[in-house]
């Protein structure tokens, strides 16, 4: 992972062509009212009502930089801004040939090229954009922070295209760091060779391929011994839903109940995807899997999903949270809390992890499926901190989007009848109502009756 930077994000569909950004830019950069000095250009002279800001994208691999014969353009490794050095520039304008986005222009009044510099981190154009067609996104900070840490996952992997796991594993390992023992029970995680294959390792941390059934207890043993000899070694489980909710549940439950100092991440792809998409305890109602097939006599899975996060909450874990990779900052915040909690007791992260192959949706929709699952309250994001006696939604959804929009994205639900979809809606509503009730009541012990 390279460095990530703050950036201007433009939404042409929101732009109304008002041109305020150009005025603000010309004022800020040249103290002029002539928008020829603006480094942002608005499409507004077209026959139809089509608008949109054109501005430098501050590319990761800027072709303007590579095209400059004078070394006058450089990408600043700290800020990510492609910087222009007036002293070096010879005005050859070859950079304007290189840029495919129209992000660098020749200014005939100044006899020089010019380009956006983010106003040093506080872009004027953003402040004046009433329809919010330009935003200055600073969310990438998490990538910046993590980008500086070592990637502890080997390059290359054997996952399906579009799999959610690579990003999860790389981010998680970067964050937990090298003083970690990793265990990944049978499933997609070792299936993509995380624990190594034929003499080669998949990670730069010690890794183990435990049984599907014993990840939590085996890691607890590792942690116990290191503690016994006075070493603080992080232990981390990257387990699937089978290794957590089904056959792995006993050891998980036992370890959580004993308060073993384990960080257990359940990567829930709602089934046994590595073995060919069989149903698990977290497979949702009505879902097609290879063992809950859909035919004239069977309509997919007959029972409801087991809701692991609340089950784990009732184990008095130090920390329990639900997360998705689509909300990366949220994930890292929770991961950090989980790491700290796992030095005192059991920490459980339940990550909703769509499977392009088993759920049957296009590869590039993995993040979108997660966002929809959150937006429909199918997978609410929350966290529980035992010591702080805190239960809170981290991404509350007050006006959930249509369940049909989520279900419609997924091939495994394509056969659902109206009744089955209603069943889903009810399950989701029941769950969110229960969670809301917990959030409202709070986790604190009841006050003694007066």
């Amino acid at each position: 992972m390279g460095n990530a930077y703050n950036t201007l994000v433009v939404y042409p569909e929101k732009c109304n062509g008002c041109g305020e950004c150009e005025k603000a830019c010309a004022k800020a950069k040249a103290d002029s009212t002539d928008i020829v000095h603006s480094r942002i250009k608005v499409l507004k002279n077209l026959e139809d009502e089509y608008f949109g800001p054109v501005v430098c994208m501050q590319c990761g691999e800027p072709s303007c930089v590579k095209s400059c014969p004078a070394g006058a353009l450089t990408k600043n490794p700290e800020t990510g801004v492609v910087e222009w050095d007036e002293d070096k520039c010879v005005s050859c304008t070859i950079c304007t040939l290189g840029c495919p986005y129209g992000g660098i222009y020749y200014n005939p009044l100044m006899s020089n090229v010019m380009k956006c510099d983010h106003c040093g981190g506080d872009p004027e154009c953003v402040k004046v954009c009433e329809p919010k067609a330009i935003e200055y996104k600073t969310e990438a900070n998490v990538y910046k922070d993590q980008g500086e840490r070592e990637d502890l996952f080997a390059p290359g992997l054997a996952a399906c295209l579009g799999c959610n796991m690579e990003i999860l594993i790389r981010h998680t390992l970067r964050h937990v760091g090298p003083n970690t023992v990793l265990a990944a029970p049978p499933g997609c995680v070792p299936g993509i060779a995380v624990v190594g294959i034929n003499g080669f390792t998949g990670t730069k941390v010690p890794s183990f391929h435990p049984l599907l059934t014993n990840t939590a207890s085996m890691l607890a043993g590792v942690r116990r011994y290191y503690k016994h000899i006075g070493r603080d070694v992080q232990v981390l489980a990257l387990a699937g839903d089978g290794g957590a909710a089904d056959v792995g549940f006993q050891s998980l439950s036992g370890a959580a109940e004993r308060g073993e100092e384990v960080l257990f991440v359940c990567i829930d792809n709602e089934g046994y995807m590595n073995t060919g998409m069989q149903r698990s305890g977290t497979t949702p109602y009505g879902s097609w899997t290879s063992t809950t097939p859909v035919g004239s006599s069977l309509p997919g899975k007959s029972g409801d999903q087991k809701y692991m996060p609340l089950i784990m909450l009732m184990h008095n874990c130090e920390y329990v949270a639900t997360a998705v990779m689509a909300y990366m900052e949220d994930y890292h915040e929770k991961l950090e809390k989980a790491i700290q909690a796992s030095k005192k007791g059991f920490a459980y992260l339940h990550v909703f992890s769509p499977c392009t192959t088993g759920w049957r949706y296009p590869q590039e929709k993995t993040m979108e499926v997660q966002r929809q699952a959150v937006a429909t309250n199918t997978f609410p994001l929350w966290e529980y901190e035992r010591e702080a006696e805190k239960f809170a939604f981290t991404h509350p959804v007050d006006n959930p989007t249509s369940m049909e929009d989520y279900i419609g994205m997924l091939g495994k639900f394509r056969h659902l009848s109206k009744e089955q979809i209603d069943h889903h809606r009810n399950t989701v509503a029941t769950r969110i109502n229960l969670l809301k009730a917990i959030a409202e009541e709070g986790i604190k012990p009841l006050k003694a009756a007066v």
Binding site: L43, K44, K66, P69, G71, Y106, G156
Partner: protein, 438 residues
């Protein structure tokens, strides 16, 4: 000496290749050679050095610190005289040898000197290296009169630079009776020519050099007309050809330049070539061509670096799913800018095409303001464009040409408002690419 990667040449192709190699292989030993005595620079900058627009010390593309950080062994003053591909080693002018595992030839071009009687013996200068630029500046200091041979980019640019230094400049065309005939049609060329004349450059396109005589360190340029121009400084800028005189019996196949495939691989195992020295795929036809264009050199260098050090399987996989042009070379689109006396011009794609060849041409010309715009369409596709002192984004136009975007019913509006329409198409293709992927 032994190295995993050896790169001969340190301009855009070589530098980009090194950068790409380091993306995939942080530790493999990498040696970069330049025959010159200075840090890497772009030959494109040289006329600006002559002009005095920028100081030499400012224009180097990399510094020593960069090479240290990237763990690149950068060696100055190392001229390769032979490649022994069988033994995987090169011989240097100083008699030493360097063994390599993978070799990139990125040696750029050598100036060509036209077969004019007496020219070879004359005290002429070219403008291809930093040393050349320094020499011209040295001679120009005490010169009053200069003759520049060649009306291509180098010749034109040198003429302007010397004129601005106060020399009386005589600019004499090369083989073709036009200025910048590779990039501008005669209408555009005339505009540019006039600006040179207006700025005191003598440039009669009817004049042609017959022979050159030398006496007392001075040259006398004799024209077809019999006119003789005695001059203090004779600059030859009639073109370049790939620098391949060291291939020896390496077996590396070359035509005008070193022949390479779409991954910039030569005919010989473990040898690649990129940049002005390479003769590579053409964007339009099947024949391999020289491009000699800066952005192309960078593209080729990146591809060569990827192929030398990168993950072949990844590249193959990309190829199988429809491919990214960036990952294999699909041919360069001609493009250049030419800026003269405060005027800006560019030429992209099939800029010289005309209606007789079946193209649709849309031109706009305001000679009094030195403005010119030409759009070349092949059916509903933009294939070329020229602009002098007009506001357009040449890079967007290049991309529209390169991606072969069908303008359909937008063509008419495009012709009347190319600036905004090209930006809109940029948006649509950019976002469309994302949306259609879904």
């Amino acid at each position: 000496m032994q190295t995993k990667y050896l790169i001969i040449g340190s301009s855009h192709a070589g530098l980009t290749a090194a950068e790409e190699i380091r993306v995939h292989d942080a530790g493999g030993s990498l040696t970069m050679l330049t025959m010159e005595d200075c840090l890497p620079y772009s030959p494109t900058i040289l006329p600006y050095i002559v002009e005095g627009k920028v100081e030499e010390k400012l224009i180097y593309l990399r510094d020593e610190k960069y090479f240290q950080e990237k763990n690149i062994n950068f060696l100055k003053g190392k001229k390769v005289v032979n490649i022994d591909a069988k033994a995987s080693k090169v011989s240097l002018a100083d008699g030493s040898e360097i063994a390599y595992e993978k070799l990139l030839v990125a040696t750029g071009g050598n100036p060509t000197v036209p077969p004019v009687p007496g020219l070879k013996e004359a005290n002429y200068l070219v403008l291809q290296t930093m040393e050349d630029a320094r020499k011209i500046n040295e001679v120009a200091k005490n010169a009053k009169h200069a003759v520049v041979m060649g009306t291509g980019l180098v010749g034109m640019h040198a003429a302007e630079a010397l004129g601005k230094k106060g020399l009386q400049v005589e600019l004499i065309r090369g083989r073709r009776r036009a200025v910048l005939p590779n990039y501008f049609d005669s209408d555009a060329g005339k505009l540019i020519h006039q600006v040179f004349l207006d700025n005191g450059i003598n440039c009669d396109l009817d004049k042609h050099v017959k022979e050159v005589e030398s006496a007392n360190g001075k040259s006398k340029v004799v024209l077809d007309s019999g006119e003789a121009l005695e001059t203090d400084l004779l600059v030859v800028g009639t073109g370049v050809k790939p620098r391949i005189d060291f291939l020896g019996d390496s077996g590396i196949q070359a035509d005008k330049g070193i022949l390479v495939d779409n991954m910039m691989k030569t005919s010989v195992e473990n040898v690649w070539a990129a940049g002005d020295v390479a003769q590579a795929a053409d964007f339009y036809g099947k024949e391999k061509v020289l491009t000699g264009i800066l952005p192309d050199a960078s593209d080729q260098g990146k591809i060569a670096g990827l192929d030398m050090a990168g993950d072949k399987a990844v590249n193959l996989a990309f190829d199988e799913i429809g491919g990214q042009a960036a990952l294999s070379y699909r041919g360069g689109v001609s493009m250049n800018t030419f800026n003269f006396y405060g005027n800006k011009s560019f030429s992209v794609g099939l800029s010289l095409a005309n209606e007789e060849d079946g193209y649709e041409i849309d031109t706009m010309s305001l000679p009094t303001s030195c403005m010119y715009q030409k759009l070349v369409f092949d059916g509903d596709f933009l294939v070329g464009a020229v602009g002098i002192n007009v506001t357009l984004d040449p890079g967007i136009l290049v991309n529209i040409i390169r991606l072969k975007i069908d303008l359909k019913d937008k063509k008419a509006e495009f012709a009347s408002n190319p600036l905004d329409m090209s930006r809109r198409i940029m948006w649509d293709s950019w976002r469309g690419a994302i949306n259609t992927a879904g």
